[in-house]
Structures are given as C-alpha cells and as structure tokens.
C-alpha cells in the first residue's frame, strides 16, 4: 500500500491521520467534528481522497460504519471528538464487539498536558472503551501515531474482527513527527491462529461420514471470513447432502433458496431447524458461538449429538456447550481443508440420509411460520413477504432495527448472498438499522438499501434521515408500525400477566410529515391491497423514504422457544392461544432475559 513518497516523511499528527487512512485503503469516514479533532478536520478539508460523511449523532456514525463494514467486508471508520463524542460512540463499539465487526474509531482527546484535570469535554476514553473494544490505544507521542493507526487496522480486521479505538490528544495532532507507512510485521503478542489442525479436521470428516442425522449450524463467522468461505460452505453442503441452518448473523452464507436449507434456528427459528438441532447425532457448528438465543435451555440442548465446532476464537470453544471436535482457525481455511479431505476420503451415501430428510419434511409440514392472513389489516409477516417478492430480484441490502420486525424480517425475507443482511444480533441495539442503512448506501450508491424498522426503534436514531438527505443516500425506511414496542409487549404478555407497562407509544409522530420535514419522501399504507403499489412507489423514489406501514397492532412473533425451554418445546403459532402464551414460561424461566 505504501509508496516511495510516503516513506518516513515528516508531517503533523493530523496529516498522519489522514495519510494513514489513505494508506489503509479507507475511502469513507463517518464522523462529527468537535474541539479536540479540529486539526484532523482541517486536514480532511484540504483533500478529497477520503470522503467524510457528516452524521447527526456519533452513535449514527458508529452504526453507519458498521453497516459499511458488514456490506463490504472492509473496516468501517468513524471519527469523533473527545468527551461526549467518544461516549456517544460506546453503543456502536459494544455492538460491533458482540457481532465481531471491524471498526476503527478515532477519537480526539484533550491535550496531554490537560489529561486528568477534568478539562472541558474530557473523559477517560480508553478507560471507558476498554471493555467494549478488541483493543484500544492512547497515543501520547506523535512519532508513534502512524504505527498505532496501522496496528489498529490490523487488529480490527484480522483474527476475530472487532472494534478498536485510537485516542489522539489535540497537541499530538498539531505536533510534527515522522510518518511511517504500514508495515507487515505485527506485534509478537498478537498472532491469531488461522489454519486449523489437520488431525482435528480429519476427525471431523470421520464423524460426519458416519452421521445418520447430521446438521450444519453456521453463523456470522462464515460471513466475516469472506466470500470464499460462503462459497466453500455451499460446496460442503452440496457434497455431503446435509441439512443446514444458520444463526441470525449468518443468514445469506448459504442461500435461503438452496435445497438443503431448513431456515434460521433459535428462539424465533423454524420448527424444523430447532427440532433437527435437538434430534441430530452430529452437529457441525461453523463460525457460530452457541449463544443463548440459539441454544435455549442448555441442559436440554441437543442431548444426543457429537459436536464439531469451527471457530477462530479459542474462547468460544467449550464456553457454553461442550465440543467433541474443536477446530480453531479461520472458517475459510478450515472449510478448504474440510472440503478437500471430504472429497478425498468420504463417500456420502446420500440414501442413508433419506430417513432423516423424511423426518425433517414432517417437521417442515408443521408450517411454523404460518400466520392468519387478513384482508382488512396488513399483517406484518405479509408486509415482509411482499417486500421480499418485490425486491428480491434487485441489488438489495437489508438492515433492521431490533424487535419483532427484526425477527419477521429474518423469517420472511430470504437471503441468497452473504453481506446483504445487517442486523444487531448480540447487543440487540434499537436504532441500529437506519444509520446502518446509510453506511451501506454510501458503500453501494446504486443498490436498493432498505431498513426494515419498527416504529419504536426507528425513533432512536431518526436524526440520521438528515444525513441521508444531505448525501443523497436514497435509503428506504420500511416501518412496521404497530404503535407498540412489540417485542416488549410480547414478553409482557408471556411473563407479566398482560400488564403492558409503557410499551405503547401514545404520541406517535406523523412519519409522512416527518419524512417531508427532513427533505425525504413519506408514504403511508394501511390496506393489504394497496401495499404492493406503495412498495413500488418506495422503490422508485430516488430519495430517502420513510414508509409508514400500518400493521396489525397485536400480532406476535412465533414460533418461539420460551425462556428456559428447550428446542423441542417450541410455542407454535397455531398453538399460541392467549392461555398458552400466559403460561408458556414458568417461574424459573421468568428470571431469564
């Protein structure tokens, strides 16, 4: 990346920041200026190689950078000032940490001479962000600045990706020092293991070859590993004929249209996926982490299976679930070996899997995503299905907020490619989707970018509509408006005797007028037979759209594994009567989140 003229030049710290961004291939930075980053903003002003996207709140910058990163596979970059700028970035940093998204966050800091004096807009940024980053640095010497930023990119994007923070005091931005270009020699203490142990992979192949009731359970690690990993996953599924399910984070790695797809698993996954997980004899977990939303009650989790776990992070192995064959390495590299060994040694007798597929077909016949269609009111599931039908053949990227709409989107919007689905999985951050859509649209200006939103979540970061208008980013905010915090209400119905404490929004803004106030376009639809035309209008408008889709207010999200229950104790939509809902969770399960 470096070229001769950049070798060890003298420049100011602020110049170094911009030079280092260029040398690390950065094209876009999301940020918000302030006192402690003014020298860097001055440098940004004087060049046009790195484009700065001005947000309206630092949380928006972080989520936009996350959307950018997840849709491109590159690091997302944000630039914020000291104090409140840095603290506002904490939510997206933790979000990126939990979902393993590479983010580089540059924060301004008060001058080194003032650090510790409770100066104006001072906070202990490295202290506050230590637990919500993969690593962070406070740079006190301008001569270490360039190398630190290069290292930050290296740490953020390699191994298990994650967010990093580089805190740069204002005097360091002004000081002159020597710029060093990116170097390939990383620090000796940080050496992620990418190549899997061949003996373990052999053991995995052996176990898989003997499986009668196998299931592949893949996750976000496949997507993080890059497009080649998704390709290899598809190849593995084709070769073995095994059924495959995926976590929320992993949707798209294996196509939802693929014949071995059994749908998403977990709390709101399909009946067939969860039953197959429960009854399988060999489970191949690829780049997922046995999160509580996936496993349900651990003591009853897939009790009779041998488990193979491929993960780049050794701490994910045996964390929640005991693994019989752990393989530590990059999913792509491990799959390469696994596919090669499978071809060389294992012969799948696909006929041997017939009884298993027959069983899966029986579970599938329960039609766990069914809902009662209504001709007068738009059912939220129907809205997603129509949205999918009308956009699936386009170059579409979907983001979401968090709640019922997110689960309906995961269930009813089907992804055939990786990097097309951006949602806050681990942290569950309401307000993620709108700024994330902005970030995706900046990276893919000609694509159709839709945020499937809820009426409550979308108001948390609504201000970024203004950024979208400024940068002519025609993001489509498709709001499933039921006037409730739907998932909160669903849990109050399940756990708290239907006492709907503060989950109803009595004063809802007029989203159409709001869109217009921002300079965008507003659409409202409340009739099922007008929905298609309204969606077509949304697609055709070349500016940011707020689509107020009025849906059935009391619809709930099923199927569901109630808290404290196992995979084979799902609550199915046709069984979810008021009484069943009220009694679904016992006293022990009530404590759980």
């Amino acid at each position: 990346m470096s070229n001769g003229q950049n070798e060890r030049r003298e420049m100011t710290g602020a110049e170094m920041v911009v030079q280092a961004l260029k040398d690390n291939g950065v094209k876009h930075v999301f940020g918000y200026p302030g006192g402690a980053v003014l020298p860097i903003y001055d440098e940004i002003f004087q060049q046009d190689e790195v484009e700065h996207i001005l947000v309206r709140h630092e949380q928006g910058a972080g989520h936009a950078a996350e959307g950018y990163a997840r849709s491109t596979g590159k690091a997302g970059v944000l630039l914020v000032t000291s104090g409140p700028g840095a603290t506002n970035a904490v939510t997206p940093l933790q979000d990126a940490l939990m979902d393993s998204i590479p983010l580089v966050c540059l924060t301004g800091q008060v001058p080194t001479s003032l650090i510790g004096s409770d100066a104006f807009q001072e906070c202990d940024t490295v202290g506050i962000t230590r637990p919500c980053t993969k690593h962070n640095w406070l740079v006190k010497d301008v001569n270490e600045l360039a190398a630190t930023i290069h290292e930050a990119f290296h740490v953020a994007t390699t191994g298990r990706p994650g967010p990093v923070v580089v805190d740069i005091p204002k005097d360091v931005q002004f000081a002159k020092g020597i710029y060093v270009p990116p170097q390939t020699a990383p620090r000796t203490s940080y050496q992620p293991k990418v190549q899997g142990d061949l003996e373990k992979i052999k053991a995995a192949v052996e176990l898989m070859a003997g499986a009668k009731k196998p299931i592949i359970y893949s996750g976000g690690g496949v997507i993080n590993s890059g497009p080649e990993a998704s390709h290899l996953l598809r190849e593995l599924v084709d070769l073995t004929g095994f059924p495959i399910t995926s976590t929320l984070m992993g949707l798209g790695a294996y196509p939802a249209s693929g014949k071995n797809w059994v749908g998403m698993l977990g709390m709101h996954g399909t009946y067939e996926a969860n039953m197959a997980m429960h009854d399988c004899d060999v489970m191949i977990c690829i780049g997922a982490r046995f999160d509580d939303r996936i496993t349900g009650r651990l003591t009853a989790f897939s009790p009779n299976s041998k488990k193979i776990h491929i993960d780049i992070d050794p701490s994910s192995i045996n964390k929640n679930v005991h693994t019989d064959v752990p393989i530590i390495g990059d999913v792509g590299r491990v799959l390469e070996d696994l596919v090669r060994l499978w071809r060389a040694t294992a012969k799948t007798d696909k006929k041997a899997l017939y009884p298993w597929w027959e069983q899966i077909a029986k579970w599938r016949a329960r039609d766990s995503l069914a809902y009662k269609m209504n001709n007068d009111v738009i059912m939220p599931q129907y809205a997603i299905q129509r949205l999918y039908a009308l956009t699936k053949d386009m170059d579409t990227y979907i983001t979401t907020e968090v709640g019922q709409h997110q689960m309906w989107a995961a269930q009813h919007y089907h992804f055939d490619k990786p990097n097309r689905w951006m949602t806050s999985g681990g942290l569950g951050t309401m307000g993620y989707g709108l700024p994330a859509a902005l970030g995706v649209q900046i990276a893919h200006p000609d694509a159709l970018v839709i945020d499937i939103a809820g009426d409550a979540s979308v108001q948390m970061t609504m201000q970024e509509m203004s950024s979208a208008v400024q940068y002519e980013a025609p993001i489509k905010i498709f709001i499933l408006n039921n006037q409730y915090m739907g998932m909160v209400r669903q849990w109050q119905q399940l756990l708290h005797g239907n006492r709907l404490s503060h989950s109803y929004t009595e004063a809802m803004p007029d989203f159409v007028k709001l869109a217009e106030a921002y300079g965008g376009h507003g659409i409202r639809c409340d009739k099922p037979d007008e929905l298609d035309d309204a969606i077509r209008e949304m697609i055709s408008v070349k500016k940011p759209v707020l689509f107020d889709c009025r849906v059935a207010t009391l619809a709930n999200c099923f199927p569901m594994i109630p808290s404290g229950k196992a995979h084979n104790e799902m609550l199915l939509p046709d069984e979810a009567t008021d009484e069943a809902v009220a009694n679904a969770i016992d006293a022990k399960g009530r404590e759980l989140v």
């Binding site: 230590r130 203490s189 940080y190 929640n320 808290s563």
Partner: protein
C-alpha cells in the same frame, strides 16, 4: 451430556446446577509492559465475574518490556479453561500458563509459590520478647526496630504467613503488608 460443562456466569440462560468442584489455580501471564495492560487483565476478571484471590505484577524483562502477572484464582476446571482463553485474547498478552495444571503434568502437587510480608508489631516486656522469639522460629528477619516495635520481613507460602500473622496478633500486631504470590514451576523448563 452437557450438564457437567456449564459455566455459572454469563447469561441467565446458563443458570444450572454446577457439578464441577471449584479449585484454586495459579496463573502466570506474560504481557507487554504498556499503559493499561493491568487494567485490561483486572477488567476481564471483574467483567466476567471471575475471582482474584491474589495478584502480583512487575516488569521481569526490561529490554523486552515484558511484565509477568501472577494471579491466584478460583473456579471449576471449565471456568479455568475459559479464564485462560479469555486472557489470551487480550492483544498485549504473550502467554498464559496455568501453573497448577502444568505442575500436575510434571507429576508435582503444585507449583512453587512464595509470598513476602512486612509485619509491624509494637509492644514491651514479655510480649516483645515472645514476638522476637517466634519470629526467629519462623525465620522472619527484623528489618526495623526501636524500643517499642519491630518490623519483621517474612517469606514463604501463604499459609506460613497466615500462621505467623495469627500468632503476632495478641503480641501487638499493628499492620501488615503482603506482596501477593510469586510463582513458577519446578524443573529446568521456563514457562
């Protein structure tokens, strides 16, 4: 089959009967000596709900800027494995060795562990004579004294220090300072 591998902390989903017995282990952690590295290690323990019974840290290789952190912690074997892996994720951490596990592999009961304490005892008459006599029996040395007090320096296993301090209590114990455990495995190999 997973029941015996559950960890007690983390999400409320993992509340389940713990069937493994907690054990005390001594960990050696080799880290880059840079600002904040100790905070990263301690933050990991508090953030994930692990115990710290003793913590000792000092630079051990000046030229390489390496510090060695010795942590005595308590948890089930499963939690111990998690602690080790979580520590290894910290970017400036070079190596983590569970000295207790290592000593078992070497056929030994436990690693070598030593701690130093400074113990101040004030008094006159018989108590003062008794304190000095007992200090001699424990091979504690007097490093400061006047007619009314002694400061003893004592080195040994934690249990020996505990015992010495308990004995000094009725003899005019004023204050105690302990270093925490320094530890390594027996034999010619390094960590």
């Amino acid at each position: 089959m997973n029941a015996q591998h559950l960890q007690p902390t983390g999400s409320a989903y993992f509340i389940a009967k713990e069937t493994e017995k907690p054990e005390t282990h001594t960990l050696s952690v080799l880290v880059d000596n840079e600002p904040g590295v100790l905070a990263r290690v301690i933050g990991l323990f508090s953030g994930r709900g692990y115990n710290i019974e003793s913590l000792t840290v000092s630079e051990t290789e000046h030229e390489k800027h390496l510090s060695r952190i010795t942590i005595v912690t308590r948890g089930t074997p499963h939690v111990m494995e998690q602690i080790k892996h979580q520590l290894e994720r910290i970017v400036p951490v070079h190596r983590v060795v569970d000295l207790t596990v290592r000593s078992h592999e070497l056929g030994q009961e436990r690693p070598l562990e030593r701690e130093l304490a400074l113990v101040k005892v004030a008094g006159t008459g018989d108590a003062r004579v008794e304190a000095l006599r007992l200090a001699d029996a424990f091979r504690a040395s007097v490093i400061d004294a006047n007619t009314e007090h002694f400061i003893f320096e004592i080195t040994g296993k934690g249990s020996k220090l505990d015992q010495f301090i308990a004995i000094m209590k009725p003899l005019g114990l004023v204050e105690i300072c302990r270093t925490g455990v320094a530890a390594m495995n027996r034999g010619p190999q390094g960590m």
